[in-house]
Symmetry: C2
Subunit: 286 residues, 2 copies
């Protein structure tokens, strides 16, 4: 497994792979790899013959009062875990390598980033789109795999790739969960024991929403109300948003007709967690 | 010479050229090709072994009251002129092919677009950066050639390519001029006979500025004042801006120390013309 810290060396390596006819798959991460990341990588292995991952805690997607500084890091552990699933190369740049002095270019995806996390985290998706554009230019993948846990991020990247005519395929993979249903996230490490219990209210509320939908409920307001009540009944939770949106436009819907997603962001103590469920799909929570 | 109107077919063609080891050079244009464009293409021929040009009047770089509708077009003439200089392929997409419904992604280069034309034409450089990002992804060039007449555009594209780690070289080529010094521009066709005379005040003012500089003058204010007076003495001219800027930041300078550019935008009748001179360089105006 090769480690590249330089933009130029990574880019030269990827270009020669492409000219040599290799099919590059790519999984961008912020590191502190868990089973969810490893599943993305396993999917990457299936979809290409050379798998590159990036590990980069991207400063431009964190707001001024967010957890950039305390975001968990463990490069040596990440290296071991990546090697074990057969990653071929890790791109691991320093912040100054990605954002040198006088850096000033940003990619903005307008509509699909307005709602949900775009409201709670105003510059977040600009940072995500920008760093992904950079990473795609550096790593030159044929296919990139993203998790559906960050649903709005996935929609944003798909939209950017289509709009800017980037020549790669974006694949979304189902959320990997702990046995009890909690969506895997590097931020779960912030949770204390009691918070860990309350955090289950997110995934369990998705199950409740699915049941209502499966029983014929199509009113977004009614499903949202049920979810809000359920989450609020758990100690230490504070709802950032509970919304039901069209999966193409990410705008709120009143009635569920086209494909729609229930999206949640909930503070549990001082940790902000997200989860989501696309109506009509299966949900592997016991 | 091949003509591609489809994004997908152009992209597939370019990808196979790259895999085949060809070196692609690229000249993006808005068509109505004149000798200035043809010189960019000749430079493109020298720098690659497969030359692609694009002809696309890009709507996102025109403001609501600008000349998008009346911008001159002549595809058949352009085809002949391109073939004559040895262009290998023309990318000639329709507007809806480049900006389909729900289009919503834009590239913004912040600092270097604030001054000069960025003030007179607020969304102009966002449109230029966005369409160039798209074209680079579609045409996949190793090198792209731009004219220095649009100096701020060149600086903006260079900045975008560097910041977003796009893997291509941007080359700037000296402005091509009519025998009497007028910078070549498709918009020169808008000029009536008397306006054509007044339009010479732009290039001639550059000569005056160069003389002042060569004689030791380093005060931006004094050079600007002389240029303004000279241009204003010509009938039908209205100055949009006369500025002297650092060529890296495009911010105004008071004294010319680092590399600086004198940049002009002047209305002649109802036509807005631009021209510029980088101090210390040669200026081929008689």
């Amino acid at each position: 497994m090769e480690i590249f810290k330089s933009v130029q060396l990574m880019q030269r390596h990827s270009e020669s792979l492409r000219i040599g006819g290799r099919h590059i798959s790519f999984v961008p991460t912020m590191g502190y790899l868990h089973e969810g990341h490893l599943n993305l990588m396993r999917e990457g292995k299936r979809r290409g013959d050379y798998l590159i991952i990036s590990i980069f805690v991207n400063p431009t997607q964190f707001g001024p009062n967010e957890d950039l500084e305390k975001y968990p890091r463990d490069f040596e552990g990440d290296e071991r875990r990546a090697a074990a699933v057969g990653v071929d190369a890790i791109f691991y740049p320093a912040s100054e390598e990605m954002y040198p002095p006088n850096y000033q270019t940003y990619v903005t995806v307008e509509e699909v980033t307005q709602n949900l996390c775009g409201q709670s985290r105003p510059i977040h998706f600009r940072g995500v789109a920008t760093v992904c554009a950079k990473l795609f230019h550096i790593v030159k993948p044929h296919v990139a795999v993203f998790g559906k846990k960050d649903f709005q991020q996935l929609v944003t990247i798909q939209r950017m790739v289509r709009d800017l005519n980037m020549d790669l395929e974006i694949v979304g993979l189902d959320t990997t969960r702990e046995e009890d249903g909690l969506a895997m996230s590097s931020r779960n490490t912030y949770l204390g024991e009691a918070e860990r219990d309350s955090a289950l209210s997110l995934s369990r509320s998705l199950v409740r929403a699915k049941k209502l939908y499966d029983a014929g409920e199509r009113s977004a307001g009614k499903i949202i109300h049920a979810v809000q009540e359920f989450i609020a009944s758990h100690r230490g939770t504070r709802i950032d948003y509970v919304k039901i949106c069209d999966t193409e436009t990410m705008q709120d819907v009143e009635n569920i007709q086209r494909e729609s997603v229930l999206a949640l962001a909930v503070w549990v103590g001082s940790t902000r967690l997200i989860d989501n469920y696309v109506f009509g799909q299966t949900l592997n929570i016991v």
